[in-house]
């Protein structure tokens, strides 16, 4: 987050709004957009008047006409919508240089560092509204710490209005809002309703372990969203054709050293733009217009993407060594024809690979020790904490993209945060001092117990190896938190792990 501010511009019922923009007279009628013009095709979206007449999205065109004979139906033109979205992005760039089109009439703008241009975030938001009003598109604008907050802020105001969520007030802002606003599946929302969770604040107050147990991977997402944290990164678009800088000279330039200096200044600004967008590039073109009206193009191509100046300049100086400027340069254009979509944070992976497959590396790792090498951990269903996971040999390279992973409920205690296992569990002891206080002995050290959480009983069935344990989480007066269990078969206490 790092103090970032994001603006969100929502164009409600975007396809409908585009049709009304083209023919304003149809705004007076109930209007719906269908997949195509066939009677059997389903409606995609409809305006407020159509909704009031009982038309909903899932209906077919024929069904909708039965309900509302005046309904105006238009076929969806996705190409037109994309074209319109591109034009909107271009217009929004006049307000903030970094804009992301998230589809369906949703646009995100970088609102950080614009305090020198706009008096306040409110005036920044009003500027967007004014721009959209000029385009006769109804819009709402929200500004917040991340995309999620900004979007919710924009979605909870009427068209033409704005909402600013100041920093550090995200949780208070989200708490009373409906869970319907959360970007999760309809099934998850239905399950939240079944649990009696109606507001985001109630989701936040719900124990994380319970959320994870009930919603698997969505549980963590729900928790993060309810806390105002957005896992979705702001990725603005930088159209390649815009990434150039031109500098016309008032005199002819014959010196390659001076040419490099001019290029350096221009390239520095372009790379700064890339860096701010979290991107990088591996090629830049320098087009020099010569006195004799011909163009001289110098291509600087790196073997790996970069976002800093030195690698480009090194390459450029080498290229310029053999350059003969017999005809003077009168105009310089530096262009970045392509930029990488990869984030700067992942730049280390774009470096030239050594060519070694993971298998080879693993073999080398195996050489370091007889048995232990590289593993991938996998959660699995088991009663005992130490069996809640297993290590698989990491034979393939780690996935670059996030995958939908099966989730298994781990240890059912309350505090899972930072648990470090002691393997095998260390024998401990609980000693009663007779003054309503207990001592926990771990490795010959005595700790006075302040609080306990539990118990949780775990026992194995006849088909399993027998175990019968009673678990407690124990907090000592020196603020240490242990996971201990009483083994009823061996009648002994053990320390299973430390919460750290």
């Amino acid at each position: 987050m790092s103090g970032a501010r994001i603006g969100c511009c929502v164009l409600p019922e975007f396809p409908v709004a585009l049709w009304i923009q083209e023919r304003p007279s149809i705004a007076a009628f109930p209007l719906a957009i269908a997949e195509d013009e066939k009677e059997s095709s389903a409606l995609v979206i409809c305006n407020r008047k159509a909704l009031d007449a009982g038309v909903t999205r899932e209906l077919t065109v024929a069904q909708a006409h039965t309900l509302c004979p005046d309904l105006q139906v238009r076929a969806r033109d996705q190409q037109r919508e994309q074209q319109a979205a591109r034009e909107i992005v271009t217009r929004l760039r006049t307000i903030s240089p970094f804009v992301q089109d998230a589809g369906d009439g949703l646009f995100f703008l970088n609102a950080s560092g614009l305090r020198f241009i706009y008096d306040s975030e409110q005036s920044f938001a009003r500027k967007i509204i004014d721009l959209m009003t000029r385009e006769t598109l109804p819009a709402t604008v929200g500004v917040g710490a991340n995309k999620f907050i900004a979007r919710i802020a924009a979605q909870t105001v009427k068209p033409g209005e704005t909402r600013i969520v100041p920093s550090s007030t995200e949780r208070q802002f989200l708490a009373p809002l409906s869970v319907n606003l959360l970007p999760v599946s309809d099934e998850t929302k239905a399950s939240l309703y079944e649990l009696g969770l109606r507001t985001i604040g109630q989701v936040k107050a719900f124990p994380l372990n319970e959320l994870m147990e009930r919603f698997a991977a969505d549980g963590m997402l729900l928790s993060r969203l309810a806390n105002g944290d957005d896992p979705d990164t702001f990725l603005p678009e930088l159209p390649p054709d815009l990434l150039y800088k031109r500098f016309p000279l008032s005199f002819a330039l014959f010196n390659t050293g001076s040419l490099c200096l001019y290029v350096e200044r221009l390239l520095e600004r372009l790379l700064e733009r890339l860096r701010q967008a979290g991107r990088c590039c591996r090629r830049c073109d320098i087009i020099c217009r010569l006195e004799d009206k011909t163009d001289l193009t110098i291509v600087v191509a790196l073997d790996r993407p970069a976002s800093t100046l030195p690698p480009f300049m090194r390459q450029l100086r080498q290229s310029c060594e053999s350059l003969d400027l017999s005809s003077g340069v009168v105009d310089i254009t530096v262009a970045i024809p392509e930029n990488s979509l990869l984030l700067l944070e992942q730049l280390s992976f774009q470096q030239r690979s050594t060519g070694a497959a993971t298998g080879e590396v693993q073999a080398q790792l195996a050489k370091l020790s007889e048995e232990h090498h590289c593993f991938k951990s996998q959660l699995q269903a088991a009663h005992l904490p130490e069996q809640n996971f297993r290590f698989l040999p990491a034979t393939e390279k780690i996935k670059a993209e996030r995958s939908e992973r099966p989730f298994v409920q781990p240890y059912a205690g309350h505090h899972l945060s930072g648990l470090r296992l002691l393997q095998p569990p260390v024998a401990g002891d609980l000693i009663s001092t007779g003054k309503q206080s207990m001592l926990l002995r771990v490795k010959q050290t005595l700790h006075t117990i302040e609080r306990t959480f539990g118990p949780w009983k775990l026992s194995g069935g006849w088909w399993q190896s027998s175990f019968d344990r009673i678990y407690y989480e124990v907090q000592t007066t020196d603020r240490k938190l242990y996971l201990v269990f009483y083994d009823r078969i061996g009648a002994r206490w053990f320390v299973q792990g430390v919460f750290d």
Binding site: M1, S2, G3, L208, M212, S223, R224, N227, D229, P231, R275, S307, R314, L343, L344, E345, Q346, L347, S348, F349, Q351, T354, A356, T358, V361, L365, L368, S369, E370, H372, H373, C374, F375, K376, S377, L379, P385, N388, F389, F391, A394, K397, I398, K399, R402, S403, R405, P410, H415, L416, S417, G418, L419, R420, L421, Q423, L481, G497, V498, D500
Partner: protein
């Protein structure tokens, strides 16, 4: 006659340019890498660093007492890293508990776990991981270890980390003297304020101000 010292003296920027041209990698460990950073997801912690996040190419020490929350803090960092990249956990003590990492938001699909026998093997394994770009961040769990890390191996690891633009996080106990101060760029000392609230104090740093503290809320 002695020459006027100021006339031959280069400014810092000039000197830096001179060195960078001759040895391009020499300045990588410094603040030049401020643009290549990762944000931890905790606004307060990120704001401790001028670049708005922890710069890459660094050796970082995360230290704390038993139950101080240092492992939770490492999971917070790993969660941020595994959102866009991959990580490795060098589990020297065998105490890594994957469900706790998942609970802390770590994507274990994007994390390698290496369980070496000795400290030296662990350092070599980390070096190997960076050399082959298997991960951009490696956590060396040194909790429970008492012997100092071999200086030569540590130095090699530092160079490899700089070259790979990676990041090494040493997880240590508060009173440990395993890592020489000159080897790490940043030392964060973790203390637990409450069950879900940790405070991270920068006790030693070359990439930010020292003595500053940030509060981290565990989700």
């Amino acid at each position: 006659m002695l020459k006027e010292p100021s006339s031959s003296r280069l400014s810092f920027d000039e000197l830096k340019t001179l060195i960078t041209e001759k040895w391009p990698e020499s300045f990588y460990a410094g603040s030049d890498w401020s643009s290549l950073r990762f944000t931890t997801g905790c606004a307060e912690l990120d704001q401790l660093f001028p670049a708005g996040g922890i710069p890459y190419g660094q050796l970082i020490e995360v230290a704390g007492d038993v139950s101080s929350g240092k492992t939770s803090m490492v999971f917070v960092l790993l969660a941020a890293i595994t959102r866009s990249g991959t990580a490795a956990y060098i589990d020297l003590g065998g105490s890594f508990f994957p469900p706790a990492a998942v609970s802390g938001g770590v994507d274990i699909e994007r994390m390698l776990v290496v369980r070496p026998d000795t400290l030296a093997s662990g350092l070599r394994a980390t070096e190997l991981i960076f050399r082959h770009r298997l991960a951009c961040c490696a956590v060396l769990d040194l909790v429970g270890h008492r012997l100092p890390l071999p200086y030569t191996l540590l130095h090699r690891l530092r160079l490899q980390t700089i070259r790979a633009k990676g990041m090494v996080i040493f997880l240590t106990e508060n009173n440990s003297t395993l890592i020489p101060a000159s080897m790490t760029s940043l030392r964060l000392e973790i203390t637990r304020q409450s069950q879900r609230r940790l405070s991270a104090t920068v006790t030693r740093s070359r990439v930010s101000a020292q003595g500053v503290t940030a509060e981290v809320h565990l989700s």
